[in-house]
Symmetry: C2
Subunit: 362 residues, 2 copies
Amino acid sequence: MDKIYNFCAGPAMLPEAVMKQAQAEFCNWQGLGVSVMEVSHRGKEYIAMAAEAEQDLRDLLNIPDNYKVLFCQGGGRGQFAAAPLNLLGDKKSISFITTGQWSKGAVAEGEKHAQASVFDALSSNEQGQISVKPSAEWQLDKDAAYVHYCPNETIEGIAIDDIPDVGDMVLVGDFSSTILSQPIDVSKFGLIYAGAQKNIGPSGLAIAIVRDDLLDNAHPLTPNIFNYSLLAGSDSMFNTPPTYSWYLAGLVFKWLKQQGGLTAMAEKNAAKAELLYSYIDSSDFYQNNVAPENRSKMNVPFQLANSELDAAFLAESAAAGLVTLKGHRIVGGMRASIYNAMPIEGVQALVDFMADFAQRNR
Amino acid sequence: MDKIYNFCAGPAMLPEAVMKQAQAEFCNWQGLGVSVMEVSHRGKEYIAMAAEAEQDLRDLLNIPDNYKVLFCQGGGRGQFAAAPLNLLGDKKSISFITTGQWSKGAVAEGEKHAQASVFDALSSNEQGQISVKPSAEWQLDKDAAYVHYCPNETIEGIAIDDIPDVGDMVLVGDFSSTILSQPIDVSKFGLIYAGAQKNIGPSGLAIAIVRDDLLDNAHPLTPNIFNYSLLAGSDSMFNTPPTYSWYLAGLVFKWLKQQGGLTAMAEKNAAKAELLYSYIDSSDFYQNNVAPENRSKMNVPFQLANSELDAAFLAESAAAGLVTLKGHRIVGGMRASIYNAMPIEGVQALVDFMADFAQRNR
């Protein structure tokens, strides 16, 4: 086994070039003789790095000037609480669109703070595949503070690639598993947030991109570390940020620019997903039951037609260097997470293994 | 300049041996061919490492079985909110003892959730030095849910080494800057918490040690990631934890055991502090105005008698490899943070430089 390809859904693999750079400068950052994790977040070197990371993210996502970029702690689940605490204001309800486990998780936290108006957008098409109702059919609570949805459900592998049309309502998206995989028109959103551990960097960091007219409205009981206004007013350094995670995220942003930015990444991700889904669809040994237009390009769940072979598939794929392919316990089967850092060579190696395994087990 | 000694108050230096091990296995942890930050927190390797880290911490602090150890996000300031959210219950107030900026910071967050009964424990002794009133003189709010204090104020360099006697009230300590520097009788506390970035590991992690009868009492609006009961019931994996920080903390715990545990660390830390304070006291060029019994062994603020020399002191010390000695802006002057990871050789190098600088600038 020469090469490991890691299909973990998160914490996920990071770009190999980023990891090598981080390892090389681990104990001596910028010639300071100490690690970046051993310097003050108030020092000029760290502040310059942190600001550059934010600017690189702004460049990548073409974030308009009237949006603040916040580097937060607490992951995506922290933002499940931070979003209602900051955005509810004097409204009484939140309009939740559910398409899987993560969008439902946001409801579970949000309904502590507000009335949850929940619309289940899952459907099935004529072929019996799981599909998502188009946003024109969503029943929205027009009095809600905002509409919340999750454009990529990592567990079920369900995606909404087009930005939903919610009229003049404030749109909030949990982009934890899809941010930076393709361009986003940020101007359509009131808030975008994302836990880092799929496409940004290590776990322990979350990024929030919030339109500035939505600030200054936090609930009085909002913990300070979740208060968007406090974070915005202190360049995300109201408290000590997760400095090493921020640094690694900055390296990832530089790497993404070197790859050609998000348009280039979108092409690569589309090619990787096409390679895997088209093989699955061509085979009667494997299957994926999501409608093509709602298939996730980040997380590809698939089932073996004969689930008695699951254990053998997992053992042999791991032995071949294709690791962490077990599906989430809720849906079973397999799942290949193919975020930005996964090269197409890894997907090809997986497809080759799948074909060989099928051949040997017919 | 051969050797850098980093006196940063936090994020602070980590043990050199820990950093070298982490660098060596950065891209290939446990022979898995991937980084520890790229594996699932649900995988057996990570779970085993995480459990071992907890056990090592339990061993070091001799934590009784009726205490839960939680690995949290949000740092010490996150715990400023988590403590009242989890512990207030049906009580109306919190008894805060203030001795400096950090204990006051806890009040600022706590008074969002409860009536804050604040007792300023600072005083001055006959020599005009800053001292802390003994706990027998503290005016406590007997109806409060708990008494909160901070045994080490990093900014002012003020410490309370003996555990306060608060009768049968629940005692909560913010040990962010002193945990693991000496043994603690955990059984005297309802809750001990600490941000990681001084004596535990990198920023982005906080540890809470909570007596189990205090669980299951969280305010309904407590964000799930701050809910001690949820964290305790999920081995701190209700949400994706900051996996790399947890790993590094585990390496630090192993290193502390190799050093002989906390009794040995307490002796080393006392020797380091004695070396520095005794030099300061022997000099009329430098001064520290904290009463000896309340001097911090972790953070040693000192002033030059002639503050016009501050800039030269900082520039020349940095050039000599003694970095990050500038005091906090609130108190000015200098500050040497000498946590567990600082070897006595670093303190000796600082004292030697201070003596030389004084000699040259008289």
